[in-house]
Symmetry: C2
Subunit: 363 residues, 2 copies
């Protein structure tokens, strides 16, 4: 292997790939990234066996070849170099890396030891605008579970329903649903939320269409020069639609920053009670108030002006409420609920394509 | 106690004071800050028994009094509030805190349980410009030891020598000395470096004179409305002047950012060898090169253009070199040394009031 690449391209590729490499794996080669010439491009790949990311960059290839090198060292090294042309040359398992002022040799491991990336070329194929996918994932992954005892809840459920594609996640304490695009495909995919965090990282600056290919076991997301493959989660997703309230007895619309502030302040006094805060609506006063009590420390009540219809109160976990408020983007938020035992629902006041449901706590 | 203060003043005071409060202390009251009316001001004080910080803010005092409240909760709460007037009212040990939209009650502990701040009013007194003290401390604290086995090395040595005040710190592996101001006082003070970190935080936006008062055991730094008192370290400081080389056989002057870059890159390959890198000067080529070897990972050599007189090489700990480069402020740096067994000295190329000495490693 002998080739030249630019520092910018190589450091960008390493930044998207190196993060899935894992130095704590029992398989030492998984701490490495695979460098491999593919025509006049260099492919840089990393995997933790669940997720595989491959990034292709333009390259002047003088001699074909492949090698794996420690992901972390390579990333730290290349990103520290000044903007320049970098020469890579392989001599047995030693990769020589040269620029004008810097020369390094990194001891690699044979490319043959690196797990082969799964091939899912024979799957179903469709496209989705990168911007829409990105904003949907940003808004739903927060509600996915990190607890492996119920694997289906650790996924983001991408599925079609009456000709519309939805992204959903729920850990059974809260639920987030985003309406994506109209589609003619029959889609039912349960994608690990951890892989979606990696995909979000890759999509940061990406605005074009994302190509999706999937079979029963795996799914490929292709965003320009970057490909992410992940396993799908088996099992059937809960019938979440029946959990979403359709009508509400009490409703408050207010500035999102104000609801965030009063919730944050109240949460300081809710540390002893596992984040429990009680929100009350007073239609006459046009006021939403939040109350929390810490028997040791003291208590707090905060209020904010709001457009209110109906009266009532509900007790919520302030962490879940703050997580939700954090992924909305609009200026005004509507918080709706029925009684103390029913979930609260959050909408953007001017845009109904995203909703976030938070289950109540006993108070 | 009944009074009013502004959110801005109170949150600024808590930010300077709360950090010395310690929730892990065996004395629970040390996790609190003391609120106490003093004439028409409110004093907010915190201490860990080694260091005490007191911040005075203007206040409309309706009723005198004193109470201690949990430092962390109070700080988080007050800094989260919008800019406004805050009313504080004490009812037994409950502190009621009110603004227009927020009401809290914090359970306090009696002010009588709070340790009395030491009084050192009868000590020697002198002044120093805040800016000079701040830049001196920033440049020397990094070289102080964090290892308590030799307590004198955990201090910053403020002392006069032939009519000039110096600040010095050394952990025996490196040494930093800053020339401060001319003085007629006989000064010999060994101040804990940890207290100097707190002082730096307090001095962030402070440009006026700092008033210093000290006796044999303690020292007070007074910066406007904030006072910091700390114990002094006992013991005699090593005769460090004989460790500073006076003449050099080899010398390189180059851009500080360039020396930082090549050192950083080389340090990536020096992880196995405890940060050991070898710097070589080549007068003919006008080049400083840095080399490091990691037997497992590979090796690196980097170079930078430099104005050089003399040839030679020296092996240093890259962490110490980076720490030093980080506290210089000028654009150009001069690195000088004699042989492999003598220390390297760093100067700002255009300003000799600060020097940093790094001991060599065996290579």
């Amino acid at each position: 292997m002998k080739l030249q690449v630019t520092q910018e391209n190589l450091s960008k590729a390493l930044n998207s790939v190196a993060k899935v490499a894992n130095t704590r794996s029992t398989l030492p080669v998984l701490a490495n990234v695979l460098f491999k010439t593919v025509g006049n491009r260099l492919s840089i790949a990393g995997t933790n066996l669940d997720i595989a990311i491959t990034h292709y960059i333009g390259s002047k290839v003088m001699e074909e070849g492949a090698i794996t090198v420690p992901a972390r060292l390579m990333q730290d090294f290349i990103t520290s170099l000044p903007s320049s042309v970098i020469s890579l040359e392989l001599d047995e398992n030693k990769l020589h890396i040269k620029t004008d002022k810097y020369q390094s040799t990194i001891n690699g491991m044979s490319a043959e030891d690196f797990p082969v990336m799964p091939d899912i070329s024979k799957g179903t194929e469709w496209n989705i605008p990168g911007k829409a996918l990105k904003s949907a994932l940003q808004q739903v992954v927060v509600a996915a579970s990190t607890n492996e005892t119920r694997p289906v809840l650790t996924g983001v459920f991408l599925h079609s329903h009456e000709g519309v594609l939805y992204a959903v996640a729920t850990d059974s304490y809260r639920l987030a649903e985003k309406t994506l695009i109209s589609t003619k495909e029959e889609i039912k995919l349960l994608v690990p939320a951890s892989a979606m965090h990696d995909l979000l990282r890759i999509l940061t600056d990406y605005e074009e269409d994302v190509q999706i290919v999937h079979n029963d076991q795996q799914i490929l997301f292709k965003a320009g020069d970057v490909e992410l493959v992940t396993r799908l989660i088996e099992g059937s997703y809960p019938d979440y639609r029946k959990l979403i309230p359709k009508e509400f007895k009490a409703k408050a619309t207010l500035k999102r920053t104000e609801l965030t502030n009063v919730t944050k302040v109240s949460s300081l006094f809710a540390r002893e009670s596992a984040g429990s805060i009680t929100i009350s609506l007073d239609e006459k006063k046009g006021e939403l108030s939040v109350r929390s009590i810490a028997s040791q420390l003291g208590e707090n009540s905060s209020s904010a002006d709001a457009k209110i219809s109906g009266n009532g109160s509900i007790t919520l976990n302030s962490k879940y409420l703050l997580d939700a408020l954090n992924v909305f983007s609009g200026d005004n938020i509507t918080l709706s609920f029925n009684g103390k035992l029913d979930p609260a629902t959050l909408f953007d006041a001017d845009n109904k394509d995203y909703l976030h449901v938070v289950m109540p706590l006993k108070s």
